[in-house]
Structures are given as structure tokens and as C-alpha cells.
């Protein structure tokens, strides 16, 4: 993501779990991406625990789920439907990506940077909540078939 060109300064903070330590001074957080590894149930449990530490105002478009590892079916211990349900429960978009593959990584990075720009308010005419409702309209037909 940092390799992508961006008009403003882009900072990425990585964390294994929440809550983040409160002693450090950090800039405003514009987008939280939860990465779930479909090969590991542990990552799902971790994310579920961390979600309870996130302030509810973030769920108005500033949270995104990224599920990786769907390409290798026989390594998956989590069913796709489980993450779809999780994303649906938290009303947040879900992206599938195989982070191991270079080309997918680049595409997802571009998408995330674009989302981040919108969430930070740098794109005139569209806000995080607008984006959320746009994404949700395109997502809802598949979720009805579950």
C-alpha cells in the first residue's frame, strides 16, 4: 500500500491485537482493516475479540475485513460463509484476497488506498458512509442466497 502513489501522507500501523496502547500519541485513524487468514481459526477468534475494542463510530464505513487464503481450498479451516456472516453482522465490506499472490496484493492495495482516501475525506463529494451504502447495495443480492 505504501508503494502506491498518494497525494497526501499515508501511514500504516500494524497491530496483532487491540486495544492499542493508549500512552502513545498517534494521528487520527481513518481506516481499520481486519485481516482474517482463512487457514487459521485462531486469526478469526483474534479478530472477533478485537472487534469489541473498536469504537462504534468506526463501523460507519471506516472498518473493512480482508480475508486471505481462499485460493488454497484444502488449507482452509474456516468456511467462507463464516466470514461473510461476520462482515454482514458488522455492516462492513469484505474483500477476498490471496495475499501470497503478487498481482492480487497490488490490486487490493490500490482498493484500500482508494477507500482510505475516501474515509479520510480527501475525495470531494463522497464520504465514508456514502461509500458504505454504495458497497452494501452491490453486496446484498449474494448475501440473500446464503
Amino acid at each position: 500500500m505504501l508503494q502506491d502513489h498518494c497525494a497526501s501522507e499515508l501511514r500504516v500501523h500494524l497491530a496483532n491485537s487491540l486495544p492499542l496502547p493508549s500512552t502513545v500519541n498517534r494521528p487520527r485513524i481513518d481506516l481499520i482493516v481486519f485481516v482474517i487468514n482463512l487457514h487459521s481459526k485462531y486469526s478469526l477468534r483474534n479478530v472477533e475479540e478485537c472487534l469489541s475494542h473498536v469504537d462504534s463510530s468506526f463501523f460507519l464505513g471506516k472498518v473493512c475485513f480482508l480475508a486471505t487464503g481462499a485460493g488454497q481450498e484444502n488449507h482452509c479451516s474456516i468456511h467462507q460463509n463464516t466470514v461473510i456472516k461476520l462482515a454482514h453482522t458488522y455492516r462492513s465490506p469484505l474483500l477476498f484476497c490471496d495475499l501470497e499472490v503478487e498481482s492480487f496484493r497490488a490490486i487490493v492495495a490500490q482498493r484500500l488506498v482508494r477507500m482510505l482516501q475516501i474515509c479520510a475525506g480527501h475525495v470531494p463529494g463522497i464520504s465514508a458512509v456514502n461509500l458504505l451504502s454504495l458497497l452494501r447495495r452491490s453486496d446484498s443480492p449474494p448475501s440473500k442466497e446464503l
Binding site: H39, S40, N74, H75, C76, S77, H79, H88, E145, L146
Partner: protein, 345 residues
């Protein structure tokens, strides 16, 4: 109320309407519809019946299928066979024997000291099916011909393979009359023989073999289903094997439990009688993971389950299974058939 909560009942009603609509549809339309409906990676009905002795199973002669137990089988999924006929089995034996002899003389599959006097036998396996609609299972064996002329007994079995379909309704409804659906193929013996025979079947019946890989998700379902089976006595401990992905070599963790303890754990988790739900399977596995974590501080949920072994059967993620219990033979095959059908589609 959240519209999502009503989805479960609504979708069930919707699929039954679609089934009615497609009664008169052509097989191709039915197949397209079933493919459209399957949007997820694995088959995962939220509920599943507990393995029980079905009516048909009573008809299986334990002696006849005893040779199928306690052997390790490599499992493949197979697309429907075109113009396969059960009356021509002798003809097929002859053709396949000739084919194998020819291939071996070509030197394509030569093993040192191999005896070229082999014969192939096709036979039907009576009773290895779920419902009356399932096609008959059949068995292919490569036997070495006895050298001595005095002995008229059958020679040594070099390779065994069998084709079956257990509760394969979802596939049977989608193919036309010329096809025989036997989606599950199990082989025991030399890999060279398996590929030779597979090649012959592919050429003769226009079908396609692919190795069946079993995901960690499905292995955990198998572990729960087989632990739930009521057994009079346990012949093996319940064991799980995990593979930890790390560099340079992966670690393997094995976890053995006394089968009665595993059953007791399952009984405490299991609430709905007659069905197994996804939540129960998850809870069962979580109990094992947390017990292990408490003692060894290792998060097994971050590793990959590669093998499950119980007194009923054992399965490896590479598609190798071994069935140990005659009572649940059909039940194990039913689940494997479901996985094979899913892989074909």
C-alpha cells in the same frame, strides 16, 4: 427484526420451489442450476444427520466387504462414466488385461522382477450403496496368475480399486441416461497401476479422475461425526495431527485422546439429537484446542489439521482414508461421496 435472521427459513423455502420448477428441465439445465446454487467453496449444510445403520447396510455381507476394511485407500473423484454397462464386465476385464499387458511390454511401467502374467477381474460389490437409486458399486482387481498349473486358486492381488456412489442424489438427477454416476473411486496398490487403469477408464468411458483433497474444515467435521458414533468397543485411540507451517521445516503435532474421553466430550457438547450442527463441531474442536493450549501454550487453531484418526475411520488431507468399522462403512462412504460430488462440480 434483522432481515438476516429470517434468511434461513426463506432460503429453504426458495430452494424447494426451484426443485419443483426443474422437475421437467433437461439434465443440462439442472446441472447449471446446481452449479449456480453452490456459491461457496465447500459443502456445508449447517446440519447433518448422525451416521446410522441404514436399511441397505443390513444386506451387506460382512465377509464380502471385510477385505475393504483396514486398508489404506487413495481417494479420487470421478466424473460420470459414459456408456458403461454392468453386463459387459467380462468384456472389460479382457480389454483391460490386454491393455495392461501391452503397456507393460512397452516398458512404460516396468518394475524389476515383475511377473507379466496378470489378469484383471471386474466384479460388482453388492450392497455398497445408500439408496436403491444409487448405481451398483464395482470392483477392479489385478491378480497375478498362479505359475503352477496344479493350483487353480486365484493369484495374489496386486492392485485393488473400487467405484461407488453412496447417497449421490444430487448428481444422479443431473445426468442423462447414458451416464453411470460413480463419483467415488478408491485405490490401493502401486501408483503406476492406478495411473494405467485410470488412463484406460478415461479413454474408454470419457470420464475424468482427480485426486480428492480433504480440507481441514472437512476433517474437523469428520472428527466430530466419527466421534459421535456409538461403538461397542474401541479398536484405536482417537488421534489428531496438525502441521505447523514454519521455516525451514514444518512441525507436526500429534494429539492422542482415549476414545471414550473423546466420546464423553462430544456428548457434553452435543445438544440436538439426530443432527450435528456447525456450532457443535466448532465447540468440540475448540475444547480440544483450549485444553492443549492450557498445557502447552500452543494455539492449535493457528495450525492446519492434516489427519484425523478414530476407531471408525481415519482420513488424511491428501485424500487417503482407511475404514476400520464395518458398522459405519456406508456412513463414511456417504460423506466421501458428498465431497467427491462437490469436487466434480
Amino acid at each position: 427484526m434483522d432481515p438476516y435472521d429470517l434468511q434461513g427459513s426463506a432460503s429453504r423455502r426458495r430452494t424447494s420451489n426451484l426443485k419443483d420448477y426443474f422437475v421437467g428441465a433437461t439434465p443440462l439445465q439442472k446441472r447449471l442450476e446446481s452449479v449456480r446454487r453452490q456459491s461457496s467453496f465447500f459443502p456445508s449444510p449447517p446440519r447433518r444427520k448422525i451416521l446410522q445403520c441404514t436399511q441397505l447396510q443390513e444386506e451387506i455381507d460382512p465377509q464380502k466387504v471385510a477385505f475393504l476394511l483396514h486398508k489404506q485407500w487413495t481417494v479420487y473423484s470421478l466424473t460420470p462414466l459414459y456408456k458403461f454397462s454392468y453386463t459387459n464386465l467380462k468384456e472389460y476385464s479382457r480389454l483391460l488385461s490386454a491393455f495392461i499387458a501391452a503397456e507393460k511390454q512397452k516398458g512404460l511401467a516396468v518394475e524389476v522382477g515383475e511377473d507379466f502374467n496378470i489378469k484383471v477381474v471386474f466384479s460388482t460389490l453388492v450392497g455398497v450403496k445408500g439408496t436403491q437409486r444409487d448405481p451398483e458399486a464395482f470392483l477392479v482387481q489385478i491378480l497375478s496368475k498362479s505359475q503352477s498349473s496344479r493350483e487353480h486358486r486365484e493369484g495374489r492381488v496386486l492392485w485393488t480399486g473400487w467405484f461407488c456412489c453412496v447417497f449421490g442424489e444430487s448428481l444422479l438427477g443431473t445426468v442423462s441416461e447414458d451416464f453411470t454416476c460413480l463419483p467415488l473411486f478408491l485405490a490401493n496398490g502401486a501408483e503406476s497401476n492406478t495411473s494405467l487403469i485410470g488412463g484406460w477408464f478415461q479413454k474408454t468411458f470419457d470420464c475424468c479422475f482427480s485426486p480428492l483433497t480433504i480440507s481441514a474444515f472437512n476433517l474437523s467435521w469428520m472428527a466430530a461425526m466419527w466421534t459421535a458414533c456409538k461403538m461397542d468397543h474401541y479398536v484405536a485411540t482417537t488421534e489428531f495431527f496438525w502441521s505447523v507451517p514454519c521455516h525451514p521445516q514444518s512441525l507436526d503435532i500429534s494429539y492422542a485422546i482415549h476414545p471414550e474421553d473423546a466420546k464423553a466430550l462430544w456428548d457434553s457438547v452435543h445438544k440436538t439429537s439426530g443432527e450435528i450442527t456447525q456450532e457443535e463441531v466448532d465447540l468440540f474442536m475448540d475444547c480440544l484446542y483450549s485444553h492443549f493450549h492450557r498445557h502447552f501454550k500452543i494455539h492449535l487453531s493457528a495450525t492446519r489439521l492434516v489427519r484425523v484418526s478414530t476407531s471408525v475411520a481415519s482420513a488424511h488431507t491428501d485424500g487417503k482414508i482407511k475404514i476400520l468399522c464395518h458398522k459405519y462403512f456406508i456412513g463414511v462412504l456417504a460423506y466421501m461421496t458428498e465431497l467427491a460430488i462437490f469436487q466434480i462440480e
